[in-house]
């Protein structure tokens, strides 16, 4: 690891510390994710294992964070340590949205920037899905930004999962609560690409509002937040919803006007958002189809 000069600690990842560092030979800035392996019982942490193998495959996309290499070294105490070396990006979408809400110059994000970030996000998600990978933890914190160049990249694939081959039932301990799709909250045995698209919708609304769309503090509250805005779902609009494992009888809310929840968003944007927040996962728009939505017609796509 003498190749890198550690500059500062920039955070705690899912499985260890993250440092900003410099490649001494090239001067390139990198992010080092340090994975301790002293947890003998566990071996290589599954999150690290998934992140590395998924990124090996997905990293060629401009909209997925680039994994440069993996270094296996022994620490001074002789314990094995795994370093994941990533390209360095200076901020993430959460910090960026926060700076527009409460920074020195608060104000809405420019609509063209929201549009551009959304397009890049959909590009990245479409790339994951076309390779048979569900991200399962899309949220503003996991979207890294290059502010100068206006580039957005998806990061943190530690919860990612292959969805192409038949497997035992899926965990419901996925996705940070605020971005978790209703089928997961209601305990559906299987879920698919729709869970990521729900998260994308929540992120879209959050950029336009500068605050989270559904900020629940428990699974139950999370559902109520969703139902209050989109109406309590029925078997008619979402076949089979009332037979999902965690379905209960809920208060009956009528759907509200979605445009009022995102006043900064133009009508085409609201239409795309509505398609991302469809209750029935089979009806929810795919990332690939979203790229062709009229909302992006005014975007200069030649730059992507």
């Amino acid at each position: 690891m003498e190749k890198y000069e550690k500059l500062e600690k920039v955070g705690e990842g899912t499985y260890g510390k993250v440092y900003k560092a410099k490649d001494k030979a090239t001067g390139q800035l990198v992010a080092l994710k340090k994975t301790r392996l002293e947890m003998d019982e566990e071996g290589v942490p599954p999150t690290a294992l998934r992140e590395v193998s998924l990124l090996q495959m997905l990293s060629q996309s401009l909209y997925i964070v680039r994994l440069l290499c993996v270094e296996h070294v022994d620490s001074k105490e002789g314990k094995p340590v795994l370093y994941l070396v990533f390209e360095y990006l200076d901020t993430d979408l959460k910090k960026f949205i926060d700076s527009h809400r409460k920074g020195p110059n608060p104000g809405p994000m420019p609509p063209s920037l929201v549009q551009s970030f959304m397009y890049q996000l959909c590009k990245g998600v479409a790339h994951c899905h076309s390779h048979g990978v569900l991200h399962r933890d899309l949220k503003p914190q996991n979207l890294l930004l290059d502010k100068e160049r206006g580039i957005l990249k998806i990061a943190d694939l530690g919860l990612g999962r292959a969805f192409t081959v038949p497997l035992k039932s899926y965990t419901h301990e996925i996705v940070t609560l605020w971005y978790r799709a209703p089928e997961v909250l209601l305990g559906s045995a299987h879920y698919s690409t729709g869970v990521d698209m729900w998260s994308v919708g929540c992120i879209f609304a959050e950029m336009a509002r500068r605050q989270a769309l559904f900020p629940g503090d428990s699974e139950f509250q999370q559902l109520l937040h969703i139902f209050r805005l989109l109406g309590t779902p029925s078997d008619k609009q979402w076949p089979g919803v009332s037979s999902l494992r965690d379905w209960h009888v809920y208060p009956q809310w009528e759907p509200q006007n979605l445009a009022r929840a995102v006043p900064a968003l133009e009508p085409e944007g609201v239409d795309l958002l509505a398609k991302m927040l469809k209750y029935d996962p089979a009806e929810r728009i795919s990332a690939k189809a979203a790229l062709d939505h009229p909302y992006f017609d005014s975007l200069d796509k030649s730059q992507f």
Partner: protein, 219 residues
């Protein structure tokens, strides 16, 4: 939109059902059918390689997967044991076979009775850790596999770096392996019915040189 790629592939879905990778509903599958053809393929490969190493000058590459002696458990018994205690998705065994092939392709190693067990426990564990949402840790797999945790951790690291962390398996590759296993399973079935008819004895006596081959297939 939002549906599994699998649902559109009825053809391969049948194969998945028949290998016990998918359940058709409430039925509880005890031992997935995939284990039998998988063991046959591996056993045959081991025999072929050992024959090759015995009769030619090819030098056997010794790796950390190589034991001092071959473990007493047959491949089939070992795989059954892993399946019984790991509780992983049956698909993990197909994926593990793909991983073992990737490992062999990245090295000069031949699959033999000295390394097949360690390669199997490592690759099934990696398949479960990568694919499944619920899985046991290395310490547990070490007990199931009959190695120490420290050793399994070393095997895991070596395996990952050898295959360059390429754990993702696309549907095309998975389906290809499944149809090979399915074909093998059909062969096992035919062999069984021949045995049931009492033809097997005469047949294997008259074709002595093939008898070892026939035995592994029929097992």
């Amino acid at each position: 939109m939002g549906t599994l790629a699998l649902d559109n592939e009825n053809g391969s879905s049948d194969v998945f059902l028949s290998l016990g990778l998918k359940t058709s509903g409430k039925g509880v599958v005890k031992t997935p059918r995939v284990l039998s053809p998988l063991s046959s393929i591996l056993e045959r490969s081991v025999q072929r390689n050992e024959m090759l190493l015995e009769t030619t000058n090819i030098k056997e590459v010794i790796t950390i997967f190589h034991g001092l002696r071959a473990p007493p458990l047959s491949i089939r018994q070992y795989i059954d044991r892993i399946c019984k205690y790991s509780g992983c998705s049956p698909s993990c065994f197909v994926v593990a076979q793909i991983y073992v092939d990737r490992y062999l392709k990245c090295t000069e190693v031949h699959l033999t009775s000295f390394n097949v067990h360690r390669l199997l426990i490592t690759s099934v564990m990696l398949a479960a850790k990568f694919m499944d949402d619920a899985f046991f840790n290395n310490a547990y797999y070490a007990k199931v596999g009959g190695v120490s945790t420290a050793e399994l951790n070393r095997l895991e690291m070596k395996f990952l770096f050898t295959i360059d962390f390429r754990l993702q398996v696309n549907l095309e590759t998975f389906t290809k392996y499944c149809s090979q296993l399915e074909k093998e399973a059909a062969g096992v079935q035919i062999e069984r019915s021949i045995q049931a008819c009492g033809i097997k004895e005469n047949w294997s006596q008259s074709k002595k040189e093939d008898s070892t081959y026939a035995r592994t297939v029929a097992r």
